[in-house]
Amino acid sequence: MTDYLETQVDKFTFKVPTDRYYNSFGVWAKAEGNHIRIGLSDYLQQSSGDIAFADVRPTGTILAVGDEASDIETIKVDISIPSPLAGKIVRVNPLMETEPETINQDPYGEGWLCEIEPLDWESDLKNLMDPDAYFAHMKQQAEEEVNKNE
């Protein structure tokens, strides 16, 4: 069973599971066998709004760290999702084509974006945040956002 770090900022509750790693943008990466599954953090999906379209790069796409893995169009913004690792996309979540709102409903589960065959996961991992570090980073982002709107 997955454990979560959880915080409430203003009226919003944000969760961070402890079984994966994160880049500063709020993209998580989790090993699934030999591949790395990626998706949006709870904070990123909540702050982006209801997702209308998720255009994930097709299977076979080669990504460097920071390359756009997906384009997400929400009711508020269009965002480019930077890959947290280098490698080749080997599987795209079929729900992204038909039910992209799954990202909003289950960002850490059924709402994953794609799976990547890593080029050098051990090396990329060094540049990602562990759950505690991302939790602190995310909390600061959320609090700054609330203060900005007050």
């Binding site: 709004g49 209801d50 209308a52 379209f53 009711i75 709102e101």
Partner: protein
């Protein structure tokens, strides 16, 4: 001969959001231009405040809701107010069917938003017509 029941139109109240504005512009088009004799707009705020006239109208007539986002406040509030939601429409779903009509702006919608509102209004019109065809007992 009994008078046909009106159809209550309840749009999203998302002030400050483009999708909320689209839902309200669509509702205005239906109730003021397209089907003024057969529809009545009830703002969500009146239901939240428990306005007696609004609640009475909702109790006696079928409702069509237009939600801006997945929170579906309009649909939930109509149901909590004892109303019968006969058709739920959502701006987000309409946008997914018309990706070229990206709504932007709040006080004043861009061209895409205005067109999306018009397309959505036509969907509401069709829903109103379908309820009317079911007869005065139903609409």
């Amino acid at each position: 001969m009994s008078e046909p029941k009106r159809v209550i139109i309840v749009p999203c109240s998302g002030i400050g959001k483009s999708f909320g504005t689209v839902s309200r512009v669509a509702a205005y088009q239906v109730t003021e231009d397209d089907r003024p004799d057969r529809t009545q707009l009830i703002p969500l705020s009146l239901l939240v405040l428990g306005d007696e006239e609004a609640l009475a109208a909702l109790a006696e007539n079928p409702a069509i809701t237009i939600d801006g986002c997945q929170l579906a406040c309009a649909t939930k509030m109509v149901r909590e107010s004892g109303g019968e939601v006969r058709k739920e429409l959502a701006v987000l779903e309409c946008f997914r069917r018309h990706r070229d009509l990206k709504p932007q702006g709040i006080g004043e919608l861009n061209e895409g938003g205005q067109k999306l509102a018009s397309v959505l209004a036509e969907e509401v019109d069709a829903a109103v017509d379908a309820l009317n065809q079911e007869g005065p007992e139903n609409a």
